[in-house]
């Protein structure tokens, strides 16, 4: 059962990679990721590298899509792209050496009307996924400390 789930997780991005919707052009920069990456690869290893981050991001998106507190906020958004840029962002911040090709936190959350409680719910879902992945609690908090200030760009009301 687990193997099937893993197989699905691995094939999903490949199968739908071409399905990203077009988006208005913007200047790409690692600075768009909203925080400076960890300099050593200790955090990247604590998150079990690319495979661990892929599992965490996929789990986070799936958990949030069925979370009644915030599922509506994802409506009409390109989930294929979201998964890809989130994985890039996490990889970049955790010192995994990826370039981040997504938009800034402010641009990507513009006009979504997100509240503090939405971000709180997302953090809780992320914590649940990091727990499932077996990321040590102190390493979880080091990542959350980088993500938390993004609230100022994400929350609009």
């Amino acid at each position: 059962m687990l193997l099937i789930a893993l197989a699905l997780l691995q094939t999903t991005p490949v199968a739908v990679a071409a399905a990203e919707e077009p988006i208005a052009p913007y200047a790409q920069s690692n600075a768009n990721a909203g925080a400076k990456p960890f300099e050593s690869d200790g955090m990247w290893r604590a998150f079990h590298g690319r495979e661990g981050v892929d599992r965490i991001v996929d789990g986070l998106v799936e958990r949030s899509l069925v979370d009644p507190r915030i599922s509506d906020t994802f409506k009409g958004h390109d989930m294929v792209r979201l998964r890809r840029v989130l994985k890039e962002q996490f990889c970049h911040l955790l010192g995994g050496g990826c370039a981040y090709s997504g938009r800034t936190m402010k641009d990507s959350h513009k006009d979504m009307g997100l509240q503090t409680a939405d971000m709180g719910a997302l953090v809780e879902n992320l914590q649940a996924e990091m727990n499932e992945e077996g990321v040590p609690f102190f390493a979880q908090n080091r990542l959350l400390a980088k993500l938390a200030p993004m609230k100022r760009d994400v929350v609009e009301r």
Binding site: T116, A117, G120, E124, Q127, F137, N141, A145, A148, K151
Partner: protein
């Protein structure tokens, strides 16, 4: 009592009244527990956080029941707090200090109990203890606590200047998330004797002095924090030296809405009775 009932009503009503408001916007444990004086904080040290689980979009509330079992005394406190839009906190707590068998020895009568009402208000001025992880700036709040004790005759007899008084404080709290560490400090202008249970001011002085309250806590898991606190207190009654207070605590978020805290507290000598160290237990419900 009436205020307490209103608070309870607000506590019960707030989830239902939440049309555009959202429940549970804060992260678990980031609203602290309740001090024995009713403010959000640790067990004995007040923090700058606002009570309840609500964010700037809602009205949260907490209710607590606390018990400190000391060798010769029992201190009970229960009450509630309302957190308005993560900005203003209004609290009420009633404390009972039972002298048990020692009441007779102190000439008060067996089971003589001191009580006081503590009415509190706190306003967050600036900063965010939790989200602003890229800034050293803490969350800073100011507050008042008006305390009215019920044993005016005894308070006057032991040299207390007044059976009611008001504390003023400024509090700074910061979660250092990358270190899983919460640090808080409060400066309190007070003349309270034993939190106010023995009145305010006395034969050794009758004005407010600055006292300090500090807390440090480590988050061990998302639902468990352990830490320590200390608190200095005035010493204004010559009949009995008043000591500073210390505790080490563990706070466990049993459930989204329930926090259980246990602490080992050292309240020093109280009213000539030596070495009052014991177990502090608190159950808090938060919305």
């Amino acid at each position: 009592m009436r205020i307490f009932l209103i608070m309870l009503a607000a506590l019960v009503a707030s989830p239902a009244a939440a049309s555009d408001w959202r429940g549970d916007g804060k992260l678990v444990l980031t609203d602290g527990i309740t001090t024995v004086e009713g403010a959000a904080g640790g067990g004995i040290a007040t923090w700058a956080v606002i009570a309840g689980n609500e964010t700037e979009r809602g009205v949260g509330a907490t209710a607590h029941a606390s018990h400190v079992a000391l060798p010769d005394f029992d201190l009970e406190a229960y009450g509630g707090a309302v957190g308005l839009f993560d900005r203003v906190e209004l609290s009420y707590t009633r404390q009972s200090f039972d002298t048990r068998g020692l009441g007779a020895a102190l000439g008060l009568g067996r089971g003589f109990t001191f009580q006081q009402d503590v009415f509190g208000a706190k306003v967050k001025l600036f900063g965010d203890a939790v989200w602003d992880q890229d800034r050293v700036l803490p969350q800073v709040s100011i507050g008042v606590q008006h305390k009215r004790a019920n044993r005016g005759a005894v308070i006057a007899a032991v040299g207390g200047a007044d059976d009611q008084g008001t504390d003023y404080y400024v509090s700074a709290t910061k979660l250092f998330l990358a270190q899983s560490l919460l640090v808080s400090g409060t400066v309190r202008l007070t003349e309270a004797n034993q939190l106010g249970l023995l009145g305010h001011g006395g034969d050794k002085g009758d004005d407010h002095t600055a006292q300090f309250e500090g807390s440090a806590a480590v988050l061990l898991t998302r639902k468990l924090a352990v830490g320590g606190e200390f608190r200095t207190k005035p010493d204004r009654l010559s009949f009995a030296q008043e000591d500073d207070a210390y505790d080490v605590f563990a706070a466990w978020s049993v459930h989204r809405h329930v926090t259980l805290t246990a602490a080992y507290a050292d309240l020093g000598d109280i009213a000539t009775v030596k070495n009052q160290r014991g177990l502090f237990v608190q159950l808090q419900a938060g919305f």
